[in-house]
Symmetry: C2
Subunit: 409 residues, 2 copies
Amino acid sequence: MSIVVQKFGGTSVADAQKIRRCAQRAFDARQAGQDVVVVVPAMGKTTDGLIDLAHEISASPPRREMDQLLAAGEQVSIALTAMALQELGQEAVSLTGAQCGLQTDARFTRARIRSINRDRIEQHLSCGKIVVVAGFQGVDEEGSVTTLGRGGSDTSAVALAAALEAEVCEIYTDVPGVLTADPRIVPRARKLDQISYEEMFELAALGASVVAPRAIFLGMKFNVPIHVRHAMLPDTGTMIVPETLDMEQNEITGVSLKNGVGRVTLQGLPNRPGVQADIFDALADAQVLIDDIIQNRTSKDHMNITFTADGQDLTDAREVLGEMLKAMGGEIRVDTGLCRVSAVGVGMRTQSGVAARMFRSLADAEGGPINIENITTSEIKIACILPEADGPRAVNAVHDAFELGAPAS
Amino acid sequence: MSIVVQKFGGTSVADAQKIRRCAQRAFDARQAGQDVVVVVPAMGKTTDGLIDLAHEISASPPRREMDQLLAAGEQVSIALTAMALQELGQEAVSLTGAQCGLQTDARFTRARIRSINRDRIEQHLSCGKIVVVAGFQGVDEEGSVTTLGRGGSDTSAVALAAALEAEVCEIYTDVPGVLTADPRIVPRARKLDQISYEEMFELAALGASVVAPRAIFLGMKFNVPIHVRHAMLPDTGTMIVPETLDMEQNEITGVSLKNGVGRVTLQGLPNRPGVQADIFDALADAQVLIDDIIQNRTSKDHMNITFTADGQDLTDAREVLGEMLKAMGGEIRVDTGLCRVSAVGVGMRTQSGVAARMFRSLADAEGGPINIENITTSEIKIACILPEADGPRAVNAVHDAFELGAPAS
């Protein structure tokens, strides 16, 4: 029998009523003849509440205990979900990360999956049970509970789908699927029927966070089709699948906007080998997370390096690099109030002029020209850093320029 | 190094502040040179909240999932307690029932302990850590989470103390120890310095529920000294220990009162072999819990059987037995509004006239004679069933008659 993994979000299991609805969804799939594995995270705001409790006890709670604590959240959800299924007359069993043999390394609060023991799950499935697995959590070699960090439940779901060779991993959300842009910003945004892992990865990493980037990466690696769909609607959503030839017919697939982008500009750095390594070593040591890195040479002896980062990381970067530049030479400048508009699509690889068309659309944008402050590109992405205030206009301009929208009715 | 097991109650870990206080207590013991194992239940009303959630989903939630659900409660407490210890600079590690190898049978919601793997705990202790164990829970052969039912955390604590050959199992409560009577009823009630397992067992079973009867039974079986003490006071409390010779110098050790006792009287039953077996088989099949059983023969052909039970069990008993008596002959009568006053003491075995003295004290009670409706006795207990309204007067009368109180100052 084919296996489907269904992953629900925290808001989808926020109360008893909603849990019953998720159970019904799983039940329907089982009735339709599939083996069903359900992955649920903690209910609604449970995790936040537990984190608050921990911080009442300690400003920096030990990571092992943090994982032990947070894992209790999913344990509640899986038990309730299994109860709801049995209430529907469907045999079901709940399994924690440890119980389903989801082995990880011992990097508490951000563990990496090492292996999944599919036997235990398959044994229950073969008895006709729906298996309800706790997302986000696993167990290390010593038997300590670990958690997978941000996006952990999506990651659990896709990893389970890979281990079980499931036909599909369904990710239930509160949107109908993956759209060409955020519909709150771009009214004519359109749902995509399919998108490639690579495109989705770029879009997710850039802030269109329907599915966690780690989960998409896993799906890509193990070739697991991921179906993003609305938890409350029967409609099919968007399939995230390997790239196909026909995807290249479109120049770009979607446009994303990320607000709250900050930028650090290092000016007048000495132009000699090792400078970049020194700078980013120092940032890595201080665990500062950064996004894009842009480097320009300004003269024979000097260069500029620019990188983007958010909130606290920006402050940390200034602190770490301030001292360093005094010794090395150069100045640091920090700007906030920026955004990143990105056009993503596997088609841009084979089509020329995509960048030009994007930049032109910004220059000709309705309401006046938009100034591009920085540009970075990858093989399937063009990203522009702009003033935050121009973000919505920019996204609409690019979306229109590539005719991504639903046909005007 | 000697090992001490410290068990705290749900109200003692009801919030972050209180958890910190428990941690301090464990830390002090460790500083004093002991190896410390802490056992904590779920925080305050957590378990009730989870039970409510389950009942929103199902009128009779499956027991396995109920245990999976409830065990999350202690998992939160142990993680927070371990955090609080580390905040004090004390290395600590939290272990769920499964993680500390507390193996049980698979009778979900009321599992029995089979074994405890002391290696894992001792390994942590030998590294200087305080080990924080989740009370109330264990794991069955299949790896499913089980819970031990009512009084489960006390039971976990004493079982751990037995497995680790601890010097003492400290049970922290909100009373200073075991008293000769309930001080809310008997103002002159006095704290006992020690009491035997047998006496404590009778008192606990009769409603003076400082320590769960199962835990006392385990302590008695494995000879674990149990120290009942106040969570917020430094004073020593009451040691529950094996019976010693000097205990027999007192005729009785304590007087307990249990309110809300109901009574079922079966009158005019045929006086032939097998009647009792039929009756109590039927009650057992219907899972009706009963307390005392009293039988009297009223004539050559007839007898009466009386037994006591609480609330729902009383209703169930009437239902189960009503039909049966129609066939068998006899009448059923159910009375409520009764109480049980019990005098307990190992000394009564060796001293005559204890029963007489107790009955006399009730007949001569201040405020008028108290009518005894039923009497049952065990080797170290005399219990009288009375109208509930007379309970407090009766307890005081017995307490005074045996001079249990603190000397009048």
